[in-house]
Structures are given as C-alpha cells and as structure tokens.
C-alpha cells in the first residue's frame, strides 16, 4: 500500500468533530454505514458473496481443490483464506507482492473463521491419508472506502455458508453437497478517531485515525480472534466498551448472514 502523506489537517478536523460527538459523514459513534450482502454472485466460484458497506465493496469466492492430508492428520482436509487488495480498489493500493496490510487482513479474517470451528476439517476427508478437500476462501476488494476487515469477514462467512462441494466435477461422488458450516463467526472493527473509538470507520477516518481493534465473536459471544493494529495505546476500559458493542452488533450481522442464505 502506498503510504499517503500524513494528513494533519484531516486529523485536526476529526478531533474537532469528536469533541462535538460527531463523525465526518454524520454518523453516530457506534453507527454503521448502510450495508448490503448478496450471495451466489459469481458464476465460477463454488460459493460467493458481495458485501457493500457505504463505498466499500468486496467479493468473497470459495474454490475447492483436492489435497493430500498431512501425515499427522490423515483424516483432515484444510481451509485456506487469502485476501488480496489489488490496485483496482483504491488510489493507495499498489500492485506487487502482498503488502503487510493485505497479509494482516487475510490472516486476521482467517483466524476468526478458523478458530470459531465453523468448518469441521474432519468433514473434508475423502479417503483417509490420501485425499481430502482443501477449501480456499479468496477475499477480493474492488472498492476500499475503509473497514475492509469487517467487509471481508462478512463476505467470507457468507460465501462459505452458501458454498457447494463440487463432488461431481472432481469425480468424488455423483452428487454435489453443501459445505457444512456449523457456526457464524462475525467480526466487528473499531478505530480510534479523534481520540475515541468509533465503529465501522470509513476511508477518511482510517486515514486520519490511530489504532484499530478487531474482534471476532462466535454464536455465544465467545471470543475467537482479536487483533490490535497500528500505532496507539488503549486502556482496559476502552476495550471493555467496544467489546460490549461488538456483542450486540455481531448478533445483528449474524442475522443478516442467515437471512442471505
């Protein structure tokens, strides 16, 4: 990612707004942008979703490959999650090998999904020790106006939950079957902007903000993944406040995912 110039004027402006409990696009501190989720949008993916959050637009696509199980886990298939933010998605994203930003994106989303246990890798075994399914979830941004983490996580779980295992194409059986996904982990992300945390920061808030915290909660509010990113210091009580918000917001987004299936 190309590093934009330090936007001191923007930072000042965001601080002034924060003092008046306002945000740059008029939202409340914990308010999200308009959100849209569609599934089965890509004809060549075995599962897919498109998420729009304001001007942020991302796709998720699920593909399958046959793998040889690892010798120490002969009954298990695999899940791989990869995030790409190519230069199509914004002025500051560059071509080339994966940037630290996109590596972090992919790994944080991956951990949230993987650690929830929503995919039982034992379900992916075809012949123990010989053949198993590898599920590949590719996250692909086409328009980055902030908070790619939540958009990717949402599109990712929605794509997985509507994916179909291509048993016929790979000559594994004579009928395809839905990929079993037993849970719905949801990520909520918070950025410190103008000295306080806000939910679902947009591109200008990310640019003029400080550290961010990503929380992935499971079906019973269990914590599956946390990540603090960027330079910044936060307190236990700040964290407790965003955790409270995450608990309620994750539930709403989980309903959105279930409604799209």
């Amino acid at each position: 990612m190309a590093i934009p110039l330090v936007p001191q004027l923007l930072r000042n402006h965001l601080s002034e707004l924060a003092e008046q409990n306002q945000r740059i696009d008029g939202r409340g501190q914990w308010e999200s942008r308009e959100i849209d989720l569609q599934t089965n949008v890509l004809p060549n993916a075995e599962g897919s979703a498109m998420v729009t959050m304001g001007d942020t637009i991302v796709y998720a696509g699920v593909k399958f490959q046959i793998m040889t199980p690892y010798p120490d886990r002969p009954n298990q298939g695999g899940l791989m999650c990869s995030a790409e933010v190519r230069p199509v998605a914004g002025r500051n994203w560059e071509a080339g090998p994966p940037s630290p930003e996109s590596i972090e994106l992919g790994r944080v989303v991956d951990r949230g999904i993987r650690e929830s246990g929503c995919i039982d890798v034992d379900d992916l075994c075809i012949i123990p020790g010989e053949k198993a399914w590898q599920v590949i979830l590719d996250l692909f941004a086409v328009s980055d106006d902030g908070n790619l983490f939540d958009a990717f996580a949402l599109a990712g779980i929605a794509a997985l939950r509507t994916a179909v295992v291509p048993e016929v194409k790979f000559e594994v059986s004579d009928t395809d079957r839905p990929l079993p996904v037993s849970k719905t982990p949801i990520m909520c992300s918070y950025h410190k902007v103008g000295g306080r945390y806000v939910y679902d920061a947009d591109g200008r808030e990310e640019l003029g903000g400080d550290e961010r915290i990503h929380i992935t909660l499971g079906d019973n509010d269990n914590v599956h993944s946390l990540q603090k990113g960027l330079k910044g210091i936060f307190t236990a009580s700040e964290f407790a406040e965003i955790m409270e918000h995450a608990k309620s917001r994750c539930g709403e987004l989980r309903d959105l995912v279930h409604g799209s299936e």
């Binding site: 890509l42 001007d55 593909k63 190519r86 199509v88 998605a89 692909f140 086409v142 328009s143 106006d145």
Partner: protein
C-alpha cells in the same frame, strides 16, 4: 486453441449449442460508476464473463523513471481474480496476464490523448471476476467505457470482440466451450467510427478466406457493442 476431440458445437442449421446463430453476440450489459472510489469505472457482464475496470488519474507518474516529458503513460493491469475460473488461479506473476496487459495498454494508448497530460500516469485496472472466453476483449471494452466515464479525452472508444472457428464454421464471439474445442480465435480492437484497428491477435488455423470472414464478423459486431457502450455512458452518468 484447444482443438482436440470431436465436440459438436454447431448443428446443420447453423445453430450453436447455446442457441445463437453464427454471427450472434452473447448478451452484453454495461454499467458505469460501479467502483465509487475510482475516478471512473465500468462493469461489463458479457455472457458469463464478469469484468470491472477502474481508472485512477491522471496523477503524477512515479517512480520517476516511468515519467515521459511529453505525455502520460498508461499503467494498465489485466488480472483474473482467483475465483474467476473453473480451477482456482494462484495470485501472482503470470505470463499470460502480463502479455494481455501490454497489448491492452498499447491499444488504449492509441486513442487516449496522452499528450494532454505530460509527466503523468493514468492507471487502468481491469479485474476479471468471472471468466467465460474472450476476457481480453471484455477487459478492453470495460476499460474504454471506464476511461470515458472518468472523462479522459480519447479520439474514439476501442470496441473489442473476437470471432473464431468451430467445427470448420466461422462464428462470432466464442463462448467457453467453443473456445476450448474450437479451431481458431481472432480478437480485434476496433475504432467504431473509422473501422481502424488498435488491437489484433489471432491463434489457431484459418484459411485466408475464413480469416476474412472472421474479420468481417468482428467489424459488424463492433457497431452493436459500441451502441451498448454509449448507452451505458449516457445512463450511468451521475
């Protein structure tokens, strides 16, 4: 071209497996403004192809060594998303994509008034989200519309389309199966107002006569596609 096996793709009445006649295009839909953060953008759904193009710039060209004193450089990237094809594509270096990016850039440079923006760069990002034969043509067409949507001055838009040969019959706009099992493919980039060319590739096996027939199909189709492009720009302007 694949060209192996004896796959029947067109019947004795000249009707193709998907119901089209030899000269018919697949359905094409174009929308502009689909990437809100870009300076211009377009989505083209063409058969089961699904492509988006985004324009960023004109902006300062960097690194400095790519700058040209007398004109803008077009920095064009054609890329296939990992989930765009039947078998997943690994992200990263890819000789095919590099070549298509190069010829696409050269086609577009032929119409963009690059002299108006010395020392600058115009980024053209083409992403194939779903591929079903003819993606390079779809990409060039999407990029042309996106450039127009971004307000980049051009002498004309490039319309790109491919004709080819299946079961010894020359047909327009090959679909996936026709591309896999067909005998030739002739993609062209056409300036619809003058009938001139800025892009041309071909592979396979065509007699001189078949070659002329495929060429003529492309020329004719270019006018229909151009109309859809113009309509999208009228409709999609915000």
């Amino acid at each position: 071209m694949g060209g192996y096996g004896d796959v029947q793709m067109i019947d004795e009445n000249g009707i193709r497996a998907d119901g089209r006649k030899a000269g018919d295009l697949r359905p094409i839909e174009i929308e502009t403004g689909v990437i809100p953060v870009a300076d211009g953008s377009a989505r083209v759904i063409w058969g089961n192809n699904h492509a988006v193009a985004a324009i960023y710039g004109p902006m300062e060209a960097h690194p400095r060594k790519i700058q040209r004193q007398d004109r803008a450089v077009l920095d064009v990237r054609y890329n296939m998303a990992p989930f765009s094809t039947s078998d997943r594509i690994r992200p990263g270096f890819n000789r095919r994509s590099r070549e298509i990016s190069k010829v696409t850039a050269e086609a577009l440079e032929s119409v963009v008034l690059v002299e108006m923006y010395p020392r600058s760069k115009i980024r053209v990002e083409i992403e194939i989200l779903a591929a079903e034969a003819g993606t390079r043509c779809v990409g060039i067409t999407a990029a042309s519309v996106a450039l127009a949507h971004a307000g980049i001055p051009m002498t004309d838009m490039v319309v790109s389309v491919a004709s080819g040969k299946i079961n010894d019959v020359v047909v327009c706009d090959l679909n996936k199966e026709e591309d896999n099992y067909g005998e030739a493919d002739l993609p062209m980039g056409i300036l619809p107002n003058s009938g001139e060319l800025v892009f041309l590739q071909m592979d396979g096996d065509l007699t001189q006569e078949e070659f002329q027939e495929a060429w003529d199909y492309n020329m004719e189709a270019a006018h229909d596609i151009h109309r859809i492009m113009v309509d999208a720009l009228k409709g999609g302007e915000s």
